[in-house]
Point group: C2
Amino acid sequence: MSPRRKSLRPDSRALRGTAPVFAALGDETRLRLIAVLCAGGAMSIAQLTSGTDITRQAVTKHLHVLADAGLVHDVKVGRERLWEFEPTQLEEARRSLELITQQWDHALMKLKLAVER
Amino acid sequence: MSPRRKSLRPDSRALRGTAPVFAALGDETRLRLIAVLCAGGAMSIAQLTSGTDITRQAVTKHLHVLADAGLVHDVKVGRERLWEFEPTQLEEARRSLELITQQWDHALMKLKLAVER
DNA sequence: AAAAAATGCAACTCAATGGTTGCTCGTTAC
DNA sequence: GTAACGAGCAACCATTGAGTTGCATTTTTT
């Protein structure tokens, strides 16, 4: 037991579950929504739709995708529903990218050492 | 001319074109490929396929998606084609996420100030 | 030269996605 | 109370995406 694997394997355990967040970010429209919500605070669907060339329903769908990825959350207030940015998942995603970069740098260093040997 | 807009609008000019990269990252399999390539250096398709439960062709397609997003590049060597991680686009993506976070923090600060006034 | 290895190419299936339209429902406003 | 506004629900369509199978092509290897 305990195979003593010090080297963090590239199996991307830390990356598990990050894909949906990236998938949610992988759409121009949703990226715009995020940016708008990020700078403008809570906004209604109607507000978010104005300024786009797509339907209110389409915006609604995109918002749900973002919500499923944990990037936004909604609050019902009166007859309208306000959507707000939620930073935690995005932080997580950022950390994942950093981790990949680090692993890359690490691999490069190892390679360099091996060459110079 | 020169409209003197000091406030960086939320129109996400800096985010333009980032969506494809995120879309490419938004898949568990591709994320795994990236991780493997990142730690293992250049690898052939056959190598990348072994350890997956999908077909070689599927892996090939994923690699092309990653290549189109500029996340990997390939080199033909002999009868095989080696794929290698390409860090620049990923750096770009990371920067985008940081930018969003910054804008969010900035908006929060503005809100706080407005409340305390 | 022939077998084997590594890959390329093309067609196909099936499910998910982005988008639409039409209608209904709850909540303000007049 | 009745309009008007904001949103929800459902069906539908077209396109993309992930994955497959089958066969052809190129480079080794023997």
